[in-house]
Amino acid sequence: DAGVTQSPTHLIKTRGQHVTLRCSPISGHKSVSWYQQVLGQGPQFIFQYYEKEERGRGNFPDRFSARQFPNYSSELNVNALLLGDSALYLCASSLDLATIYFGEGSWLTVV
């Protein structure tokens, strides 16, 4: 069975641009969460979606947005990119909301 899949794996963007990151959860999982991990730190919570509804939002600016589709896949959008947005963006899925599995992440570099 496929795990959590994310795309793209690596990308480089220029300041001011926007980016869309995509995530497909484990089959049967209805909850998707997004995390940002900067080098040397633990992941920081950005969003959680369950059954296409936003269930939680972390301390991130409005430039960050997300949505979940009927097939439970999800997109994370970041507008007006800043250098400080450079990080590993992780998607996680869960069946029962508590046992949470991560994908391999999307490495975003903003130049």
Binding site: V4, S33, G40, Q41, L97, T99, F102, G105
Partner: protein, 113 residues
């Protein structure tokens, strides 16, 4: 647990020895705890979890201990192997309207051959 930035605490152990990785969590109301292993360039890998109504849980070569009195978690790895070398994070979940993970500062485990 606050992040320690670029400098991660490091635990160096001899192959075959047991490892104990410690973690302090922040919220006494947290319901659920998970240990993750993260290898370089990869996403966190689920190792073992424990609910707040338990004080010990065992998996294959791993044991998690929970001490709610002092808000402390530990991960014990038996017969540590070179493949165990990674950064280990503990995470807590406070169940409110969402199930967000709050990660502690990681520990880098180095296994000496």
């Amino acid at each position: 647990g606050e992040s320690v930035g670029l400098h991660l605490p490091t635990l160096s152990v001899q192959e075959g020895d047991n490892s104990i990785i410690n973690c302090a969590y922040s919220n006494s109301a947290s319901d659920y705890f998970i240990w993750y292993k993260q290898e370089s360039g990869k996403g966190p890998q689920f190792i073992i979890d424990i609910r707040s109504n338990m004080d010990k849980r065992q998996g294959q070569r791993v044991t998690v201990l929970l001490n709610k009195t002092v808000k402390h978690l530990s991960l014990q790895i038996a017969a540590t192997q070179p493949g165990d070398s990674a950064v280990y994070f503990c995470a807590e979940i406070l169940v409110d309207s969402s199930y967000k993970l709050i990660f502690g500062s990681g520990t880098r485990l180095l296994v000496r051959p």
